[in-house]
């Protein structure tokens, strides 16, 4: 009886919250308060169990890929799409799709969880599988230290019952193999010649991941990557794919998604369907999108930590593009601006930056000055900056590197331009 009440109360609050345009976590909070067993019972009964995806960078796009790969294998997948990836957000998402009787109609749940909140979540529901992507400097002002974040991921790995999928190229992630209690550890990885494109925080000043000898064998290796074309080595076979994602880091996440999907589906995996699904995946909302403005492409690239920003700059050559950078320091972005000094901006020096904007535009501009990157306009007003960016070079393809809240604001503003059309 208590369970029915929790579901109904949660659903009622969800309706109210929707009407008020409120946050997605509130109804979850209500259901959690009334029935603390709500999540374990609802998710614990799924035939294929729960899959948790965590790590600093790339969770959202990777989760989207895994969901679509599993759907392509005929599974009914529940996921936390709302972007509220905290436990209460998961409760809220579950509420949205449960019957009044409290049953979730799905074969498997694939959940994107923030590192710190995943720890809370796995205490409630033991995942059957987990995928741990990377641990990089991010939101250090909230968690303090990379080692703390690695500790969170260690707890997720330890709580997982069947199989753990790890990034063998990230030393802190690979080291988690020691804490795994599940029977199986799987890896995804990079071919040696691609390793230099993925600096980690430890190599900040030495550039590129170092010694590769002694790495464990990986189920899926990203072997080559050029624009949106990629070659994955799966077992002993090479698979060529034409993706709808660009940026080396997105494509590396595709290797992670492949490794996880193959682990979940097991021996019955339909390889052709897997490739078809992979080639159809488009980037997740707000994680790098291609729009069309005045008939020209405009890419939004989310940057939130030094490793991610450095990867993005290496992934997207600036030649032929007009570039804007928008840096906010609101709570969701992280307040500490030191990370901008750990990114190399050399590659922008030749073409320069057309607009620098956001709350911390002046910090960003000062950073670029010290790297000899020419800047045309500096304006803390995002909207003014965006309109000038579009108006001054109407014929150039455009790219905007932006922090999370800057991206949300820019998207809203772009939505007001009627000629904007989302192409992916």
């Amino acid at each position: 009886m208590r369970h029915l009440l929790a579901t109904l109360a949660g659903k009622a609050v969800k309706t109210v919250a929707k009407l008020r345009g409120g946050g997605s976590a509130l109804p979850g909070l209500v259901a959690e308060k009334i029935d603390p067993n709500f999540l374990p019972r609802t998710l614990g009964n799924l035939p294929q169990g729960v899959v948790v995806i965590s790590g600093t960078n790339g969770k959202t796009t990777t989760t989207k890929m895994v969901v679509e790969l599993l759907q392509g294998q005929g599974l009914k997948v529940f996921t936390n799409r709302t972007g509220s990836n905290f436990t209460r957000g998961v409760v809220a998402a579950v509420l949205g799709e449960t019957t009044i009787g409290g049953k979730l109609d799905a074969d498997v749940a694939v959940l994107e969880l923030d590192e710190a909140h995943a720890v809370h979540f796995v205490k409630l529901v033991a995942p059957r599988y987990c995928l741990l992507l990377n641990v990089m400097r991010d939101q250090l002002d909230r968690f303090g230290e990379i080692e703390t974040t690695a500790g969170f991921l260690r707890q997720i790995a330890a709580a997982t019952t069947e199989a753990v999928v790890l990034n063998r190229e990230d030393p802190r992630i690979a080291a988690l193999a020691e804490s795994v209690t599940a029977e199986r550890v799987h890896y995804f990885g990079l071919a040696p010649q691609l390793r230099a494109m993925f600096p980690n925080d430890d190599d900040m000043r030495s550039g590129g991941a170092g010694d590769a000898s002694g790495l464990p064998a990986a189920d899926v290796v990203l072997a080559a990557c050029e624009g949106a074309s990629a070659t994955f080595t799966v077992g002993s076979r090479d698979i060529d794919a034409e993706l709808k994602l660009t940026g080396v880091y997105n494509i590396y996440n595709a290797a992670a998604a492949l490794a996880l999907a193959r682990t979940v589906v097991g021996a019955d995996v339909d390889e052709d369907a897997l490739l078809d699904s992979l080639e159809a995946v488009t980037p997740a909302f707000g994680r790098g999108e291609s729009l069309t403005v005045n008939g020209k492409p405009l890419d939004l690239v989310l940057v939130k930590n030094p490793a991610g920003f450095r990867l993005a700059l290496r992934s997207f050559p600036p030649a032929g593009f007009s570039t804007m950078i928008a840096i906010n320091d609101n709570y969701a972005d992280g307040r500490d601006m030191s990370w901008l000094w750990d990114v190399d901006f050399d590659s922008l020096a030749a073409a320069g930056v057309a607009e620098v904007s956001g709350v911390r535009a002046n910090d960003m501009a000062l950073r670029l000055f010290y790297e000899d990157v020419p800047v045309r306009h500096v304006d803390t007003d995002l909207s003014a900056s965006l309109h000038r960016f579009i108006a001054l070079e109407p014929d150039a393809p455009k790219r905007i590197y932006c922090t999370y809240t800057a991206m949300l604001a820019l998207r809203r503003e772009l939505g007001k331009l009627t000629e904007v059309e989302v192409v992916s």
């Binding site: 900040m204 750990d342 000062l366």
Partner: protein, 240 residues
């Protein structure tokens, strides 16, 4: 005539370089270059040979694991660094190295990590991290702006002077309103941000003493750095 040379050494860039410490090196180099100096950059990592000629030393913060990696090496190097400091070599020590420049760091669990005693300060691990935008007032440098992120609480001993007095944030220990420490031409602080881009007075103090000590003169003409003043104002106005 060849440009006068300044030898700038970055201490432990491999293990103690996070939170934008590279920015401090970049700013010192650029400002000295703009004043006509030829800046030679040296990196010193554990096991490296310490260069004979050093005019300016910059060291930063690190993860706890980074501090473990450099600790033994730093203790060996301690005598040399103390000599250089006593001889007037300007140094900037941020966060992790600030702590290890002191007498000791006593962790949460009671473990005592020895420092090199270049600064008469003691640090103890605190129960919570002190995090956020920080502003202090310094007699020497005016308003100093940065971002702190540390759990160690540092106490100044003997006559050790602070870098400044906190007007926003927690500072050395969250209790006595002091932030950072000063000794001869050594500036030590918890502030990242990076510290020097938005605090040109501190950058020029370090550059001036490096040039005076090596070459006997320093051109004090102020530099016109775009966005510098505005970036300072923005940072000072942001929420904690």
């Amino acid at each position: 005539m060849d440009a006068p040379v300044i030898d700038l050494l970055q201490l432990y860039p491999r293990d103690m370089n996070i939170y934008g410490d590279w920015g401090n090196v970049l700013v010192l180099r650029k400002r000295l270059q703009l004043r006509g100096y030829d800046v030679r950059l040296h990196e010193y990592n554990p096991g490296d040979t310490f260069p004979d000629q050093v005019d300016l030393i910059v060291g930063g913060g690190g993860q706890d694991s980074g501090q473990n990696k450099i600790q033994a090496d730093l203790l060996q190097l301690g005598g040399r660094l103390r000599e250089l400091a006593d001889d007037g070599v300007p140094m900037l020590a941020i966060c992790g190295l600030y702590q290890l420049f002191g007498n000791f760091f006593k962790t949460h669990t009671g473990e005592v990590i020895k420092g090199i005693g270049l600064l008469d300060i003691d640090t103890v691990g605190g129960p919570k991290r002190l995090i956020g935008n920080t502003v202090l007032e310094s007699e020497e440098f005016g308003t100093v702006i940065g971002y702190e992120n540390h759990s160690g609480q540092t106490y100044l001993k003997g006559g050790t002077q602070p870098l400044g007095t906190i007007t926003k944030g927690e500072g050395n220990n969250g209790q006595d309103s002091t932030e950072g420490a000063r000794y001869r031409n050594v500036v030590a602080s918890y502030l990242h941000g990076s510290l020097l881009p938005k605090n040109p007075a501190v950058a020029d103090f370090l550059g001036r003493h490096a040039a005076l000590r090596r070459h006997g003169s320093f051109d004090d003409a102020p530099l016109e750095i775009p966005f510098e003043e505005q970036a300072r104002e923005d940072a000072a106005a942001r929420p904690r």
